[in-house]
Amino acid sequence: MARTTLGQEVLTGGEATAHAMRQIRPDVVPIYPITPQTPIIQTFSRFVADGRVDTVLLQVESEHSAMSAAVGAALAGARTMTATASQGLALMIEVLYIASGLRAPVVMAVGNRALSAPINIHGDHSDGMLARDSGAVQIFAQDAQEAYDLMVMAPRIAEHAAVLLPVLVGQDGFSVTHSAENVSLLRDEEVQDFVGPYEIPYPLLGDRPSSQGLFAMPDSYYELKVRQAQALEAAEQVFADVGRAFALRFGRHIGAVEAYRMDGAERAIVLIGSTAGTAKDAVDALRQRGEKVGLVVVRLYRPFPHQVLAEALGGVERVAVLDRAVSPGTYPPLYSDIRAGYAGPAELRSYVYGLGGRDTAPEDIERVYRDLLVPRTAGIRYLNLMGEDQHGES
């Protein structure tokens, strides 16, 4: 196989994402700064200023304007990307629903961060979960390498004729956005060739005049929304196909979920994002002691890969679903999603961890595996919650 990578570079998740954007060469990138996403747009701005990428960079006056400009640009026939986090994503939500409804394939990096109030700039998945009904494809990276690889894959998923939806690529605030790791970058021309030209069926600036987003009465709105939902469902297969094409070409396979040491596992944890690295260390340590434990990391969150996840869980007996977000009044998002589609034999338990950047250590993960040995009643358990009953956590 031809050597397609440039070797390893030490980059933060934010920088790696900016490199992916540079190599994809989007036509338009509207930007507005917000921690911890800012390194992405700032690094990308430098690439534009240095002439390393020919992109129209729009500095606008809010995230709402950034996403609005992105939808306009994408529908006019431009490959469009942006980036945001937390309150910025919250402010974009109105327009994110517009992007999905108008089938504007905008690709967005998200530096996942807690939501106000009180204000907190650290990592959790509350912002991402706010977007879970928006109709966008949502993917979460574990580390800087995945943030890069998934960003390279994202335009092909967003722009696929069966999908035509925005794609959000999440990476945990600070633990990925600002943490330097070895990242293997692809060659510029390989990325451009992989991504291909931007084509949407009815660009506003195309040969065929078109109108977008016109009033839909009760006689047509329902059908349009169902078609949109079906397009998001179709994105699961497209994600798998693009992942396979990426693996064939570049030798790194990124599936909808990652099963880590699940062979013969009796107890498993399911989680999203950068805590996967911590959990893998914990799994390795426990496996060394002969404990039958495994880990499943969910990358593709919308559409939710129910079947793939069930296969990854296999014959496991007890599963701890770790959410880095809450859904007050009911079970947290990841747990609810799994519960809704899982028909396997395992007992599912809900745990919440790491809100607002609260640290999660390998020992915390080991405690969860130990807790899975003990019979428990239903309910949500909160890891590392100070000064309160931790719901019987051992």
Partner: protein, 278 residues
């Protein structure tokens, strides 16, 4: 100016010191001026509410021993409007940054000014987004450099005074952190004024704006503030100044101190006329 030896500590939260602001930042000078104004007005700090947005200026409410609220980017005036409407007895002060006032929250600024609600907005204008690392703002002058405009900004900066005047603010002033003696007087006047008051303070950000634009250290930037501004009085009775002429002589001083019915008064007047609010 506060005389040497005047103790402002009763107006500040000692446990929050030192501030988050970088060495040489102008925001501390503005915070001191606000404290001085509060002292000179003899206000009961339990009846003062300081409502901040996001960014370096958004930290200001932390430092005053008053009622305080840290809200969302650009929306502090909207929160403050709700606060003031139901408790008009509170003195409401809103420190705002470039983004709060001129970008994401520009809409709230013009509507607060249009209604003439009795709130004092103080713009900490350092021409850049400091908290997120030096990105360009709508207050960044043409050709100025930021991390998102490394080759210089092509957009004209908002003139916040012109904007406030046009939107109907009834007390409008501009000063700089160099003019630390004048600033507390303008802020005192703004707080005392019954109606929407806006004081724009040109502040220095040596960490980002100064470094990226080669303006030197904080003292150099204070002289830069002095040199790029000119007292309003020096222009004569009706300053007709074009944007181009403003380079090097941006007018500072009190632009408007006028009476116009205040929004909450108008509201309660309407309720009374309609026979309610007995």
């Amino acid at each position: 100016m506060t005389k040497p030896g005047v103790d402002l500590t009763p107006y500040l939260r000692q446990e929050m010191m030192p501030t988050v602001w970088c060495p040489g930042c102008g925001h501390g000078i503005i915070a001191r001026s606000i404290a001085t104004a509060l002292m000179e007005l003899g206000l009961d700090m339990d009846l003062v509410a300081i409502v901040g947005g996001i960014g370096c200026s958004g930290r200001a409410p932390f430092y005053f021993d008053a009622n305080s609220m840290h809200t969302t980017h650009g929306r502090a005036l909207a929160y403050a409007t709700g606060l003031k409407m139901v408790n008009p007895g509170l003195t409401v002060i809103v420190p705002m940054g470039d983004g709060d006032a001129a970008a994401i929250g520009g809409n709230h600024l013009i509507h607060a000014a249009r209604r003439n609600i009795d709130i004092t907005a103080i713009i900490f204008n350092n021409s850049i987004y400091g908290m997120t690392g030096g990105q360009g703002a709508p207050t960044s002058p043409v050709d100025s450099r930021s991390t998102t405009s490394p080759l210089g900004s092509i957009e004209p900066a908002f003139d916040m005074v012109e904007l406030a005047l046009a939107a109907g603010a009834t007390y409008v002033a501009r000063t700089t952190t160099f003019d630390f003696q004048e600033m507390p007087k303008l802020i005192t006047g703004a707080i005392r004024h019954h109606g929407f008051s806006l004081v724009e303070v040109l502040s220095q950000c040596p960490t980002y704006y100064g470094r990226l634009n080669k303006l030197g250290e904080a003292p150099d930037m204070l002289l830069y503030e002095r040199d790029r501004t000119k007292l309003l009085e020096a222009f004569g009775p009706a300053p007709e100044i074009t944007r181009e002429e403003m380079v090097g002589q941006m007018p500072i001083g009190l632009f408007r101190d006028a009476e116009r019915p205040e929004y909450i008064d108008q509201y309660h007047g309407l309720v009374a006329r309609a026979g309610g609010g007995k």
